[in-house]
């Protein structure tokens, strides 16, 4: 068995894990990030929802129930985490628009408005009301985008179909990275003689250079252009993940990709190492502190059995809403399903509560009482608690 030594080991490659990792690596710590694979961030819209319950996200956070983990993070840290995120993304060429005091609207593929806080610049031109007329461009055979859903809600919308030669989200996005494709597409678009105020696209405008592509199209047509996030696979989610991952690497962090944790080594109140499966022999990765950012059920941090919910790495106690009957309400659209409150309860330094471990810090979607869908607080909570967990972790190591 091979052994590697680190200061901090991050578990999970989502927004929370990569942010906490970059924070620590940027401050000179030796950081390893261990992940079993792609995070749920890749499935997301790429938007940073902070709190959608109030037009002012910071005010919305204040009104959240007392047990919500956002209350463990000082407002100063929340602001810093959002400012830092915007700076990082600008540096990585995927700029974001928005401010902590005001939510923005993003047009969904159903034609509804989704409330978010920081959004990719490719969604900056989204009309913030229903007044602007829009022209939607879709692509032949693209199976996850149907303009008619949007037309059902917006009477001042039209659409045209372009045949990109391929029909998958990824396929079309990679075509847009080619200069020739983009040029012939723009020629076609000019020929459409669009009269509407703005031009909307499903989010397929490039793999990494979406910002530049949106600006190029807008400049040639003379109208604002924006993207509409689609159901997974989601390009804006993937761009977000790739940028955060590359930034973490730039800061000197190591990533152990697709190395699922299969065991933990502990001594007294301290976790000493995680054992990971990999081809060949198992590896033991030693760390002074551990940041648990493995996400909720979809991310794989939690598993629901028939009778109980377990945390998959350290077997931490999981706060559960009650027996299985209480996990879901009868009304699918209720937003109050008990399962949304399941997760790890933590103390003020984000250490797991009711657990002996002194060197585990928890952040992101695995926290208890988040009710992420109801509160519209996914990636925003991940950023804020990642900063907080990283700070606690630093203090612990010192």
């Amino acid at each position: 068995m091979s052994v590697t030594e680190y200061d901090v080991i991050i578990l999970g490659a989502g927004v929370a894990g990569l942010t906490a990792g970059a924070f620590l690596a940027g401050r000179g710590f030796k950081v390893a990030l261990v992940t079993s694979g792609e995070p749920t961030a890749c499935l997301s819209t790429g938007c940073i929802d902070v709190c959608s319950r109030n037009n002012n996200p910071l005010a919305g956070i204040k009104a959240l129930p007392a047990e919500h983990p956002f209350h463990l993070v000082p407002e100063k840290t929340i602001r810093e985490s959002l400012d830092n995120f915007q700076a990082v993304m600008t540096y990585m060429g995927i700029p974001y628009t928005g401010a902590a005091e005001e939510n923005r609207l993003v047009l969904s593929a159903l034609g509804t408005f989704k409330t978010s806080c920081l959004v990719p610049s490719t969604m900056k031109a989204v009309p913030q009301d229903t007044k602007d007329s829009i022209h939607i461009i879709t692509f032949a055979g693209l199976k996850d985008f149907y303009p008619s859903y949007i037309l059902s809600r917006r009477k001042n919308a039209k659409f045209s179909v372009y045949d990109a030669g391929v029909s998958s989200t990824m396929g079309i996005a990679s075509h847009f990275e080619e200069k020739e494709f983009l040029e012939s597409f723009i020629d076609w678009l000019k020929g459409q003689n669009i009269v509407e105020d703005k031009i909307a696209f499903p989010a397929v405008l490039g793999l990494e250079s979406a910002d530049e592509i949106v600006q190029t199209i807008a400049a040639h047509i003379g109208k604002p252009v924006f993207e509409i996030p689609t159901i997974p696979p989601s390009m804006p989610g993937r761009r977000l993940f790739n940028a955060l991952k590359d930034y973490f690497r730039k800061k000197g962090g190591d990533i152990y990709w697709e190395w699922p944790v299969i065991g933990v080594e502990k001594s007294g109140k301290i976790i000493e190492a995680v054992m990971t499966a990999s081809t060949g022999r198992p590896n033991s990765i030693n760390g002074k502190a551990f940041i648990l950012a493995t996400g909720s059920f979809v991310g794989g941090g939690l598993t629901a059995g028939r009778d109980s919910i377990t945390e998959n790495i350290f077997n931490l106690p999981v706060h559960s809403p009650g027996p299985r009957e209480t996990w879901f309400e009868n009304d699918y659209f209720s937003f109050n399903h008990g399962i949304g409150r399941a997760g790890i309860k933590v103390d003020s330094s984000l250490r797991p509560a009711e657990s002996p471990w002194e060197n585990i810090f928890v952040c992101g979607g695995i926290l208890a009482d988040t009710e992420i869908l109801k509160n519209g607080c996914g990636h925003g909570l991940a950023l804020a608690t990642a900063h907080m967990a990283a700070q606690s972790c630093m203090e612990h190591i010192r």
Binding site: T40, L43, S44, T45, R53, S108, A109, L110, T112, F113, K114, T115, G141, K143, D144, F145, Y146, S148, Y149, L151, S152, S167, P229, T230, I231, P232, S234, S296, F297, V298, G300, T303, A304, G305, R306, R324, E325, W327, F328, N330, D331, Y332, F333, F335, H337, I339, I372, L373, K374, G378
Partner: protein, 500 residues
């Protein structure tokens, strides 16, 4: 107004079987169904073509009927019957006396059996509980109830039968004390259709008393709810029964890529208001897990229940009520046919049509037992080999359904209901239970202008609520994980609804 000879109410196996029989005997008829075919107990059962073994001890007459029909259906319906064979397994602690009664019963009825050792049984079905004592092999089969209805209806369609699905009967038209017709509402448009006929057949299963009451008649029934679960995997290639008196969770049936296990038996009052309880799901899993231990850990993709339309009986336990059927002549031009089983649907239809022929004073023998079901080639599903050649425009990844196939069904049936596409293509039947592909199917219907954008939103909302009723009792493990993703897609990414 439409005029015909016989009006059949109900598009389950019995109603569809009656339509086929009438068609083959040259009698004009019209079938009305309030949902899609097989919407009631027909589509909510195991899909088990009984050998009869299950009933030999408690109800030898029903057992004999089952075995005879089993032989007939295997012959006339090759493409909707999978000749899996079945095992009755005896586990440690199961009564040896029941085994003797079972074997003697099978012999009396004429059901072929073969007693095999546990080693041999494990060779046949490696996932069986290795502690089993022995197994008895019987000719059980798996049958696709929906396809069965479609194939029966095909004969009617080929011979000018008139079929209305998604039409709800709201009135039985009467004149001088006789039933002369019905009024039915088109569920999509609200339009009311009037159909006149000489005889009305009430083949509405659990709803028989409700329909009969429209004509001032009564069908005394005991409604018994049975719940089932579907696994994400096909854990056995044979039907597995527990060798003991009929009880909860004693049957496992393979069907296409999945297995169905059940059932339970609970008395209910209203067939439109049935739910599932977590305890039922747990019972089925642990009982099925006694026969096939993998059941305890395998992914359950859905739980559902159906209502058995049993004839009223003094016996308290529905497991013991006869599965036999009865034809009731209400004496006013209306007949009700109730009780029975999926396996004996053809026999039920034959007896019903015999009665109709007698009342018309016509003589023509039943041929449904000899002539193979029409349309088996084109309706024999959508073979994997074909699906793979169409890979490029796959709309449902779980069941490999292509856009072309969805468009074909829309063109062929003119349907405005996404459920009709799901039944005919298996779209949405896999692990995500339509979470991804229904959004797409409705988008395609929209593109083809069969529904308006507003309707597609309403249908998507209705579909998600219905879907949730099916999966909510099977939510743990990977299925819960998948469900959380689907919830995130609709409520998060697509912002379909806003929290209050």
């Amino acid at each position: 107004m439409i005029k015909t000879d016989v009006i059949i109410i109900g598009g389950g196996a019995t109603g569809c079987g009656i339509a086929r029989d009438l068609a083959l005997r040259g009698i004009p008829h019209c079938l009305i169904e309030k949902g899609d075919f097989a919407a009631g107990a027909t589509g909510a059962c195991h899909g088990l073509l009984h050998s009869g073994g299950r009933y030999v001890v408690t109800d030898p007459i029903a057992a004999k009927e089952c075995y005879d029909e089993n032989l007939i259906l295997r012959m006339i319906g090759e493409k909707c019957v999978e000749q899996t064979g079945g095992l009755f397994v005896r586990l440690p602690g199961d009564s040896k006396r029941f085994r003797e009664l079972f074997l003697r019963g099978c012999e009396d009825v004429g059901i072929p059996t073969e007693v095999i050792s546990s080693t041999k049984a494990l060779d046949l079905v490696p996932n069986l509980n290795p502690e089993l004592e022995e197994a008895i092999k019987v000719p059980d089969c798996s049958i696709d109830p929906f396809r069965l209805c479609m194939l029966n209806i095909r004969t009617s369609q080929l011979r000018d039968g008139i079929i209305f699905t998604r039409h709800k009967v709201t009135e039985i038209v009467q004149s001088h004390g006789r039933c002369i017709g019905i009024k039915a509402t088109d569920q999509a448009t609200g339009e009311i259709r009037e159909i006149r006929g000489n005889i009305i057949v009430n083949a509405t299963g659990a709803w028989a008393n409700m329909i009969a009451s429209l004509a001032g008649c009564e069908v005394p029934m005991t409604l018994s709810k049975g719940s089932l679960v579907i696994t994400n995997h096909r854990l056995t290639n044979m039907v597995i029964n527990r060798l003991r008196p009929p009880s909860d969770g004693d049957i496992i049936v393979p069907n296409e890529a999945v297995c169905l296990a059940g059932t339970t038996s609970l008395a209910v009052e209203n067939p439109d208001k049935i739910g599932i309880e977590s305890t039922e799901v747990d019972t089925i899993i642990s009982e099925a897990g006694r026969m096939i231990p993998h059941f305890n850990h395998t992914r359950i993709i859905r739980a559902f229940s159906g209502v058995r339309p049993l004839l009223k009986s003094k016996k308290m336990d529905a497991h013991e009520i006869s599965r036999g059927f009865q034809i009731i002549d209400h004496g006013n031009g209306m007949y009700s046919i109730a009780g029975g089983k999926l396996t004996t649907f053809r026999l039920m239809a034959e007896k019903m049509v015999d009665a109709i022929m007698a009342s018309f004073k016509l003589k023509r023998a039943c041929e449904t037992a000899e002539i193979p079901l029409d349309g088996q080639e084109e309706l024999s599903g959508y073979p994997l080999s074909k699906r793979l050649t169409d890979m490029k425009d796959i709309v449902c990844e779980c069941e490999l359904v292509s856009r072309k196939e969805v468009e074909r069904i829309i063109n062929q049936t003119g349907t405005r209901n996404v459920g009709d596409i799901q039944h005919r293509t298996r779209l949405g039947m896999g692990p995500c239970q339509g979470g991804f592909c229904t959004f797409r199917a409705l988008g395609i219907m929209n593109d083809m202008s069969v529904i308006s954008p507003e309707q597609s939103m309403d249908m998507l909302r209705g579909f998600l609520q219905r879907r949730f009723r099916g999966i909510r009792y099977a939510l743990w493990g990977d299925q819960l994980r998948e469900e959380q993703l689907v919830e995130y897609i609709y409520l998060g990414i697509l912002a379909m609804e806003k929290p209050q």
